[in-house]
Symmetry: C2
């Protein structure tokens, strides 16, 4: 079994084929959860599952499972692989799809080789990981792990005014299974890094040992609109300036800290947004991440204290809304070591790392030992048509997953 | 003549009547240059000019003049009063209209009192002072003063895709006179302050001795979009953060300077403007004003130097587009002193001041001795439905104008 390897052409071919499904008229890849494009992607995936001879199951939140089991192992908890196939707007072809199709590829490879696993091996495509159309993100895996009721999830209203439940029914993926029906023995998710570290260091495999905690907040600052020419600097209540102070505060703090904390202000808007009017309102988002919950809380507290100070110093009113909050996740040490072993046996350099992005694995980690495997992202680019991982690196990652699954499925 | 005063009810009544013309369905006052609402406002003004027995003239850029002259003085250069009657979106009723209607009021008062001026007295409503629909602002007075050709002005494409020339024809205000046909002896513009100084100091009359220079620039910063969770702080090229640095730089510099410089960033936008993506682009405007040209240039140079520094320090590309530039204007000292005298004689407190906003007077000052008179703005608020000046203050300002015109028209 030492030389068993996945079928590179089959995996890469499916990745490209799925990557052509959901192209908009202008060529952009847009496969938002519950959309017609999502249906087309799901249909292709289910067809591949059936071709591979797997049992296909769909649960009420639309998570799709392809299960390889036999009469001997059918009562054992499965080794679960997977990720998601929904995308952001104008996406690349790797994010999510690579993990899902590699899971299927690993199963087909083991099956064709006559491997007799001690427990089922299954691959999942979780609904709405991206959260672009329906919030929160990682919804399907969150529901699977029991962190959100399926009723609440199905009632989610989308950015386009649609409701997720009826949309899943419309596209034929409101399945009969109760979410969580398949309780995994372990969960392993293969994914592109979506960051620059592996490529920069020339390392092929990331053995992901933990995942950053994420804190998303929306901050609204209210000042007073006044004429830009006639209002002395000392009499201004400039909401835009106060917002800029927060941006530089967060940047300086994160950059000067001897810690992996990252802080980002991605959205910003001013009102009335006129060249000669002092902004009365500024609205912006704060994305704070840290793999340590204590540090993440300290960063949130530091921001809150700064906002209090700023409100007084600038005579503005500041309100904060929490948009999302996930505690850091520590992955299963034993699986992480299996990933390192597998890489070493294949002659691939690996390093332990933290996932900066959120992934379905962080949800499934609530109910089963879990870990992730990363492969390099060229230029660290993701959520973008320029998202890219070289073919050889994709194949290497899938082979490491194959070796890890071979060990786990024999338990 | 010492006790001659304007007809307060007539002036205030017309202000309120004009303020009801151009109301949108939702009640907002929107009288943009060249619009149907502008036509309705112009029609009302012209009707009042004719009622008052004035000669009405309209030039090719749509400037309207009401001229009071007789056979004796018809060859003399007129004392010109005026302002504009176009408005911003969701405007108050005072900005511009107060000066135009007060000019008419002064003429009617002098005429009714049997005053025989040594030269004509005229009132102008200049086209498109606000510049909301067609750039640049103060267009009609700029064309009148020869600073912009009428052909170029008429070819201006609006924010709604319309062209000013055809729009003026459509509303019936593409007149026959060549712009500049009426060369004034002097020009006096009465206006609300649009700032907080007079109210704060309890002063009734601003004798406006100069007008700030204005520098408008648009700055575009290009960085790189990357994942907010996976990109270390040290590897970021964050255009949003760089933009925030400029905002705080300008604020700190203007606030700490022992000078009347004001600096405002009124417009700001990030791209892609997503909570978990580092901004790749930031676009913002810079409004710099100072009554001293040397200082204004120094501020522009300081900004340019800071942007060069920032481009290197943050590994971003920065481009700057000049949107507008007006040198500071010094008004005519003799007229300013006449304003102070008139206020003193009426028992009104006055102070010399700088106009922070741009006004038609700055254009007419290129061709004739000019000055402005300010009255207090409650709360300093302008370009807003809450724009307000108490009736008594409006009447006081118009009476000061009356006294100044009485002196100037006797010359």
């Amino acid at each position: 079994m030492a030389t068993l390897s996945i079928d590179a052409e089959r995996l890469l071919g499916r990745l490209r084929e799925l990557g052509q499904i959901g192209r908009a008229g202008d060529g952009r890849l847009i496969r938002l959860a519950g959309s017609d494009a999502d249906r087309a992607g799901r249909d292709a995936f289910v067809a591949w599952l059936r071709e591979a001879g797997l049992d296909v199951a769909v649960d009420r939140i639309g998570n799709i499972f392809g299960i390889w089991r036999d009469r001997v192992n059918t009562d054992e908890a499965p080794v679960l692989l997977g990720s998601h196939i929904d995308t952001v707007i104008d996406a690349g072809i790797y994010d999510g799809s690579y993990g899902v199709l590699s899971g299927l590829e690993v199963i087909e490879t083991l099956k064709a080789a006559g491997f007799a696993p001690a427990r089922p091996v299954a691959v999942a495509a979780f609904t709405n990981e991206e959260g672009v159309r329906y919030a929160p993100d990682m919804m399907g895996s969150l529901v699977h792990a029991g962190g959100l009721s399926v009723e609440e999830a199905l009632a989610t209203i989308g950015t386009d005014g649609t409701i997720l439940g009826p949309e899943l029914e419309r596209i034929g993926y409101a399945g009969p299974e109760e979410p969580g029906f398949l309780k995994p023995h372990v969960y392993v998710e293969l994914h592109i890094e979506q960051g620059p570290v592996l490529e920069r260091e020339g390392v092929s495999i990331g053995a992901v040992e933990n995942l950053q905690g994420i804190s998303w907040q929306r901050v609204v600052i209210d000042g007073a609109a006044n004429h830009a020419g006639t209002t002395p600097m000392s009499m201004r209540r400039d909401a835009g300036h106060a917002a800029a102070r927060v941006v530089t505060f967060l940047r300086d703090r994160a950059k000067n800290a001897n810690a992996p904390t990252v802080a980002t202000v991605g959205c910003m808007s001013f009102e009335p947004n006129a060249i000669n009017v002092i902004p009365s309102h500024a609205t912006f988002t704060v994305d704070l991440r840290d793999p340590d919950e204590g540090r993440l809380r300290a960063e949130e507290a530091a921001l809150a204290a700064y906002l209090r100070h700023l409100a007084g110093a600038e005579d503005v009113t500041i309100s904060v809304e929490r948009l999302a909050r996930f505690e850091p996740v520590t992955f299963d040490r034993r699986i992480v070591e299996l990933v390192e072993d597998a890489a070493r046996n294949r002659g691939l350099a690996s390093r332990r790392m933290t996932s900066g992005a959120g992934h379905d694995a962080q949800m499934i980690a609530r109910i089963a030992p879990s870990a992730m495997i990363f492969v390099p992202s060229t230029g660290g680019i993701s959520h973008n048509p320029r998202e890219h991982t070289p073919d050889a690196a994709l194949v290497a990652g899938a082979n490491v997953l194959l070796d890890v699954v071979t060990r786990l499925a024999a338990e």
